[in-house]
């Protein structure tokens, strides 16, 4: 399976930088998935959850407040204000989920977007 590079950066540092299979992004005009060899696109990102399919078939979720994404054929670059990766072992995860909720609460966007993102985070916390 083909891979592409995904970078997620925030003002506080790089959150994610690795090869991935697929990524689903909360675009301002609707959620969209990106596979390798996607056409170039630049989009605003709403508050939501980025879902990453990593190269070793794991699923990582990253909660973000708002930002941009620039998709190129072999590279996807997300520039976001704040992000919390929901991964790691149980202890860290619980903490990360709390942080993610806090981040989403602070977001200034429509309640719908926040609610959707929240329910996703809740879902993740239940499935693990």
């Amino acid at each position: 399976m083909e891979l592409m590079k995904l970078e997620i950066v925030t003002p506080h540092g790089v959150i994610f930088d690795d090869e991935v299979k697929q990524v689903t992004l909360p675009g301002s005009e609707g959620e969209f998935g990106v596979l390798p060899k996607h056409s170039t696109i630049l989009s605003l990102l709403n508050t939501g959850v980025i879902v990453i399919d990593t190269k070793d078939n794991k699923e990582i979720s990253v909660a973000i407040n708002s930002g941009y994404v620039k998709v190129e054929e072999d590279r996807t670059l997300c520039i976001v204000d704040g992000a919390v990766a929901l991964s790691g072992d149980d202890n860290n995860l619980a903490k990360a989920i709390e942080e993610a909720k806090e981040l989403l609460q602070k977001a200034t966007q429509s309640n719908m977007g926040i609610a959707t993102a929240m329910s996703k985070v809740e879902h993740i916390s239940k499935t693990l």
């Binding site: 506080h12 790089v14 696109i41 630049l42 605003l44 670059l77 204000d81």
Partner: protein, 292 residues
């Protein structure tokens, strides 16, 4: 003759000061490392954001010849100029804060035919202008010691709103930036209008770039705002690193000076002791002489 006891007391006092300055130097160097690290991590974001801004500006440039956006209009005769400065919350860092203040004053002279509005971050700078009865429209005190993205963006956003509404024509940011462990450099940066020379117009094939939402202004407005927020935040990080490096230097110099002073005082102390002994000897000898 200087009193022996007096000199001894002075020596121990200087030694005490030396201990304090040495400790402060160590604290600053540890803090500097952390501040440097934060600034470095944050730099990645800056690079990517500028890259994105360049590309989108490039795209707009292609369609209309020049960048057609409110944030890029330069007013040749600015009527209202906003100066935003970043200073430290604490002193004991040499000329660090004064350098910034000096530059702000220079800018105030430069734009003396426009209305100047000051916004300050950091106790020291604010205290200076308050003492000199110069009004500030915005001030915040506890931000420069612990930079915070949200607070920085909130601070600058009121000015950005003013710019959009035409209440101000120019926003200039002044801070003392970090170059390396021993050098700080004053940075004077025009925040708004965005200096189009900072936007590199490289010829990249952009024909296939899709933009969502499909409205250039929405996306570039948001992007420029983010760029400004971030520039403000980065100025804080940079200034904090510079503050620590300046304090480290100042404290290093103070420690050295204290060492020298201790040396001088010790020599003085020894001389005085010597003198006392000589006097005593002479007294004894002359006493013996008179008994003969």
């Amino acid at each position: 003759m200087a009193n022996l006891k007096e000199i001894k007391r002075k020596i121990s006092s200087v030694k005490g000061t030396q201990k304090t300055t040495r400790a402060m130097k160590l604290v600053s160097s540890a803090k500097l490392k952390r501040a440097e690290e934060v600034a470095k991590r944050s730099k990645v974001y800056a690079l990517k954001l500028t890259e994105l801004l360049n590309e989108i500006a490039q795209k707009m440039n292609n369609s209309s010849g020049e960048i057609d956006n409110i944030f890029f209009y330069e007013n040749p005769n600015p009527k209202v100029v906003d100066i935003v400065f970043v200073s430290a919350d604490k002193g004991l860092c040499g000329g660090f804060n004064y350098q910034t203040i000096k530059r702000v004053n220079k800018l105030r002279k430069e734009y003396s035919n426009a209305t100047i509005r000051l916004s300050g971050i950091g106790k020291k700078g604010i205290a200076f202008f308050r003492y000199n009865n110069i009004d500030m429209i915005n001030q915040i005190e506890d931000l420069s010691a612990s930079p915070d993205y949200d607070k920085a963006s909130k601070f600058i956003s009121t000015l950005v709103e003013d710019f959009i509404q035409g209440k101000t024509d120019k926003i200039i940011l002044v801070y003392n930036g970090y170059v390396n462990m021993i050098t700080q450099e004053i940075v004077e940066q025009q925040l708004l209008p965005v200096d189009s020379s900072t936007v590199e117009l490289k010829s990249v094939s952009m024909s296939e770039l899709e933009v969502e939402p499909d409205d250039d202004d929405t996306i570039i407005d948001a992007l420029v705002k983010k760029y400004i927020d971030y520039t403000m935040y980065y100025a804080l990080l940079n200034s904090l690193a510079a503050e620590h490096s300046a304090r480290m230097q100042a404290m290093d110099a103070a420690t050295n000076n204290a060492g020298e002073m201790v040396k001088k005082l010790t020599v003085k102390y020894n001389k005085a002791r010597q003198e006392a002994i000589t006097t005593e000897l002479i007294e004894i000898i002359s006493g013996m002489e008179s008994l003969k």
